[in-house]
């Protein structure tokens, strides 16, 4: 390359150069604007929910039921926890074992097929699951917490399976080989080596599913419907839940009821957020090997 050419290339600014810079800037600020547009509604949502809810947050809210004076949403808070906890207890062992089977034992063919089914299940709108539960489960168990548990469980199951599968896949093959080569039987390798290595991730999968189940509304509307009474552990009758409270209180005429809807929304949001933060923190800390 000659010196003349170097000079020409580097130093003779052309109109094309400035046009390019304009486009660079244009792209950059358009993308920034889009990012702000994406975040703004989220911020607004958090702002509205928080400011509207805070005036109504008092002790009565957490300990009293709707018909008490002063009224509260204790039955909804503890109803949601009972429903979601019962569902996760029922679903987590099944989901984890299914994921273990698919990842450690099943043939590739079966894995592909079941992954297709699980993906479909993940994509089923929750109202469809709710309708299924209403048509098939409610006639058996009645409008009750039990029916709600089944519906929420159906929605949680694919999340548990899928996430556990991903976590088990992260366990390096060399770990399984090391165990087998020590003369450890396959079942012990799976239980005490693979699952132990992936334990933190499996717990994360369960928390993730729990957080999803906590906010499900549609299936509860069709199966549990809600009540003003406090229900402790009687899954044969109806129960209240936070999404149901939010749904029925939002349209109310008096400011106290509407305020309690905001408060329920905030509590639900904080719970889901807290669980998601736990999941995030865990996934950062639990890199396998």
């Amino acid at each position: 390359m000659t010196t003349a050419r170097t000079h020409e290339m580097l130093e003779s600014g052309s109109s094309r150069d400035s046009r390019r810079r304009v486009w660079d800037r244009f792209m950059r600020y358009t993308a920034l604007a889009a990012t702000i547009a994406a975040i703004a509604p989220l911020i607004a949502l958090i702002y509205f929910v928080t400011t509207r809810a805070i005036p109504w947050l008092d002790a009565a809210l957490f300990v009293n039921n709707p018909l008490d004076k002063p009224s509260g949403i204790s039955n909804a808070i503890f109803g949601s926890l009972q429903l979601t906890t019962a569902a996760i207890i029922a679903v987590a062992p099944i989901g984890i074992l299914a994921a273990i089977y698919l990842n450690e034992y099943a043939s590739q063919r079966l894995v592909s097929w079941s992954e297709l089914v699980i993906d479909v299940m993940l994509g089923v709108p929750s109202i469809v699951v709710g309708m299924f539960a209403f048509m098939v489960i409610v006639p058996q168990l009645g409008v009750s917490a039990g029916s709600g548990v089944v519906a929420i469980g159906i929605l949680m199951l694919p999340i548990v399976i899928r996430t556990t599968q991903e976590v088990l896949r992260l366990v390096p093959a060399s770990v399984r080989e090391a165990s087998l080569a020590l003369g450890v039987p396959v079942w012990k390798t799976v239980t005490f080596v693979v699952c132990r290595t992936a334990f933190s991730g499996i717990l994360t999968a369960v928390i993730l599913a729990y957080s999803r189940g906590l906010g499900e509304t549609a299936p509860l509307l069709l199966t549990v419907r809600g009540t003003f009474a406090q229900n402790w552990f009687d899954f044969g009758t109806t129960m209240n839940a936070m999404p149901l409270t939010i749904y029925s209180y939002s349209g109310a005429a008096d400011s106290r009821t509407i305020g309690q809807a905001w408060a329920a929304a905030l509590i639900l949001m904080v719970m889901a957020l807290a669980l998601n933060i736990i999941v995030r923190a865990r996934t950062v800390n639990s890199r396998v090997a």
Binding site: P172, V175, A178, A181, L182, G183, V193, R196, F199
Partner: protein, 291 residues
């Protein structure tokens, strides 16, 4: 003399450790002559699906010796090594033909449980693979603990002897409860060796155990290999010919035929393979002319 009797008893031990019958339930005492070889392979072939990766290998390995498997990449050395502790079959679609005798007992016999075979024939892998969620101590005793040994004193004793034998004790004795993965690569590999010998195998297989290590760590592992040969029969796969010449008594040279199946070219005393091999192919390989 007593030595023949000892070998005979050793054989019997191997049989019962392989098949799980502890002599009491077998009516007749094992009177088969003791094998003078730790391992004897007759026409062994290994397959991945229909692809034959190892073709007709026959060889004999003397007890308490170091045997090196050398040869170009893809010549089936590692596959053959994995045949020797029944790890080959853990991959889907694989199969093995021929006879693999461990102390005269067919490793692939109908009564042999692969789990037992692997307790007798331990394996150290190319990349150090300590269990990531276990401490140094837990790693060493993992094989025993998972085999059901509960006694704390026994486990602690085995942990110390194994770490001593693996020349790692002095470096880790004060941090036994730190994660195994906190060690350096060379220490991790010696930890894996300690873990392997903790289950008291007869044979230790090593699949390029130094290829992920720096020269100093390599030297330490090589020293260790020679020390271990006092108690164990060692088969080591290596790409490094200096390593083969440094650590082994016997060297087996493998190559690939036209169908890409690995076969044994020749096996002889290590110094003979490196100075005066019978086959031209071997002398070309050890001189660095191919592979």
């Amino acid at each position: 003399m007593g030595s023949e009797e000892t070998t005979k008893r050793a054989t019997k031990g191997t049989t019962s450790r392989l098949t799980g019958s502890d002599g009491a339930d077998s009516a007749a005492p094992d009177t088969r002559p003791a094998s003078t070889y730790a391992l004897e392979l007759n026409n062994v072939e290994a397959f991945y699906g229909t692809f034959r990766a190892v073709a007709g290998v026959s060889l004999k390995i003397a007890p308490k010796s170091v045997t090196a498997f050398i040869g170009p990449s893809g010549c089936g050395k590692s596959t053959l090594l994995r045949v020797l502790n029944r790890m080959h079959e853990t991959l889907p679609g694989t199969s093995v033909k021929g006879e693999t005798l461990l102390d005269g007992v067919d490793l692939y016999g109908p009564k042999v449980d692969p789990v037992r075979a692997r307790r007798l024939v331990g394996m150290v892998f190319q990349k150090p693979n300590p269990f990531p969620t276990m401490s140094i101590y837990e790693n060493v005793i993992s094989g025993l603990r998972l085999a059901g040994v509960r006694s704390k004193s026994e486990l602690e004793g085995v942990a110390e002897t194994s770490l001593r034998k693996a020349a790692l004790w002095d470096e880790v004795k004060d941090k036994l409860h730190q994660p195994g993965t906190s060690l350096s690569g060379g220490q991790q590999q010696r930890l894996c060796i300690a873990r392997t010998i903790a289950v008291k195998p007869e044979i230790v297989l090593m699949d390029e155990p130094c290829s992920a290590l720096d020269p100093v760590a390599t030297l330490k592992v090589e020293e260790l290999v020679r020390e271990l040969a006092v108690d164990y029969t060692i088969v080591i796969v290596t790409h490094n010919m200096q390593q083969a010449s440094r650590v082994s008594n016997t060297t087996a040279f493998f190559s690939m035929n036209e169908q890409r199946a690995g076969y044994l070219v020749e096996m002889d005393a290590t110094n003979k393979i490196f100075t005066n091999p019978k086959e031209q192919l071997t002398s070309d390989y050890v001189a660095g002319r191919f592979g």
